[in-house]
Point group: C2
Chain length 194, copies 2
Amino acid sequence: MPRTKIKDIRKNEIIEAAIAEIGRTGSTDITVAKIADVAGVSSGLAHHYFGSKEQILISAMRRILTIFGTDVRKGLAQAKTPEQRLEAIIISCFSSQNFRPGITNAWLSFYVQAQYSKETERLLHIYYHRLQSNLKSNLKPLVGTRAEEVAVALASLIDGLYIRLSFKGGNLSPDDATEIALGYLRQSLSATSA
Amino acid sequence: MPRTKIKDIRKNEIIEAAIAEIGRTGSTDITVAKIADVAGVSSGLAHHYFGSKEQILISAMRRILTIFGTDVRKGLAQAKTPEQRLEAIIISCFSSQNFRPGITNAWLSFYVQAQYSKETERLLHIYYHRLQSNLKSNLKPLVGTRAEEVAVALASLIDGLYIRLSFKGGNLSPDDATEIALGYLRQSLSATSA
DNA sequence: CAAAAAATTGATTCATTAGTCAATAATCAA
DNA sequence: TTGATTATTGACTAATGAATCAATTTTTTG
């Protein structure tokens, strides 16, 4: 029989509420009271379980990174060739899981948060490194020495598309973004070295 | 004889201080008192001239956009062909003027600010539109119907590179960024339509 | 110089919010 | 049931920071 899990259920609800609020407002400039309210608990409880607002936000970020990682891994599992794997990574970036409304906003906020939170910077760095080496290792057999450069460009392009997606004014759909990124990939694979 | 300009000098100092602080901390989560302090005036004066903190930040953003616009125009003036013009735009994006330490951080913050400030969103939209149409019109004679797509991709790539530059962890230099963006451009120009 | 206008201050007000804590409610174990 | 453990609350504290404003200094002008 499973031991008391209410604690974990609550923590999860609070994390989800935090993600929802970051997504809704587009920043980490939200109150613990509001997060608690959305989660349906008191602010005291949120503090009780997480200790501080920063810890709540870091937990939210960790959750988003986990979702992202799971999604990518799932896509990679079915891909056989390096080319398929690269496509799978790109598709995952703009897939539904990573694309719940507001997730793009959350990413943007995390980049800002990374400027003053060591832990956020650390987490973001891990994400960077993973994506980068994932892309690079699959690009190596296809473009050789250009792998590093193409990997940086592709990762940057994905980040840039995320920004544009988070911005209401730039009417871009996730599908458009996927196509653009895939287009860049194909173009890079067929380009001859200068 | 020029009329009293102290007012304008002060306003300018306050705007510069705001940019410096946004750059230093990497967010718009700064105090009016701190901005005033950096500018060497009292917080009261900052409020007196700008009315609110939001107005100070909006003015700071407007200033950055102006600097950017001037830089681009300067680059364009010397370019003759569409290709040269495209290169000039890219180079301007990562040029020294736009690259005072912290400006990248400021951009990032403005994207977040645009989520809740109508005025910031409006300004960002103008910037978007200008860059986009600038790129597109020069791409048109070179890549025809692909102009729209390549313009979006290039603009996104530039934004993404900005993010990476603002992030300490990703050791990328402005020169690297310029090279990557120029590389993408050349590649796009030489690619044959699928 | 004297009066008017402009520049500037900083103490004060008011609102917000992170974090604490002591008390209460619910659940579980024996 | 009863005692212990766990979950939960919401009032409270303390800090912060935006905005105001009356008072003061500086500058301009006639």
